[in-house]
Subunit: 199 residues, 2 copies
Amino acid sequence: MAAPRRGPRERMIYSTAQLMRREGVSSTGVRDIVAHANAPRGSVRHYFPDGKEQLVNEAVAWAGNFAASRIERLVAGMSRPTPSKLFAAMVQQWIDEYRTQGFGAGCPLAAATIDCAETTDSIRAATSQAFSTWRGPLAQALIHIGVPARKTGSLATLMISTLEGALILARAEQDMRPLTTVVRELGPLLDSHVRSRQG
Amino acid sequence: MAAPRRGPRERMIYSTAQLMRREGVSSTGVRDIVAHANAPRGSVRHYFPDGKEQLVNEAVAWAGNFAASRIERLVAGMSRPTPSKLFAAMVQQWIDEYRTQGFGAGCPLAAATIDCAETTDSIRAATSQAFSTWRGPLAQALIHIGVPARKTGSLATLMISTLEGALILARAEQDMRPLTTVVRELGPLLDSHVRSRQG
């Protein structure tokens, strides 16, 4: 997740996402966010009058949009996209991160759900919306690739679920294998849904 | 996860697992654990000299053993087990919980990984061990069902990953559909690996 070169508001949202994906939401303090974003001290109250809850909600929305636009870029960059290639590319982003930066960080949407779904309904609703934001272009991409429209929502749910779970196993085990395994095992199933193969 | 009728030590471990799966590890305080377990005040220092970290590590180990023994019971209770039936039964446990108790709680292993993998290596190692404890009997069960031994580890990783991720989506969306979807979509793939079907 590349850092945006933007103003303090955007930097604080980005920093919130980055910090919560390392240690979860509860351990991420507003002071940590301000420091990480290199933002002026009074800027939280100015930009985020509802404080941490608002920061987390906006970070969750940002992460959903990031994931969605990534799907669009991945498909646009493939000459002959298939569902398995798309899933592999989604996972590869994480493999690259873990290879270069270690297993320190997971998905911010998973962190927000695990820590906040039960306690803060606005954050839970934001995660639901973000998963939906992510699933939309993924389902669209599957249609474009040739998966029948009635299957795309289910396959998008399967792909996102499997990726999210494999990230947890990879971080727990500090091992890439859960990620490479789900790519290998799920690929044939995903491709079996393509209506007519392009020659 | 049924409550054990045991002494204060076991009750505190169980309570730790229950609380962390609702609000994550960071939000779960030792006082909350003592109160939830209805344990004497001084008992934490007595039973868990390393405090919360030890409690979480033992809760993680407990959860891994719980998941493992559940696999064994599920397979033992099936007259004609198949990989898809086993996966459906693993997921059904959660559907039943969410139907009767709402979407308040997720998997304690996911919570421990998300919140602690980066900050507390003993907890990360405990989650890695617990996932391994869970995967072992699952892979054994798949062998018993007829999956070639070389595939069982990979399929066990796929099943656990997909379940973990679908739990996150289900809690975010407060909807059973991610769980029912992954059961429906993954089933045929899992069964395609069975060597010789029993008539």
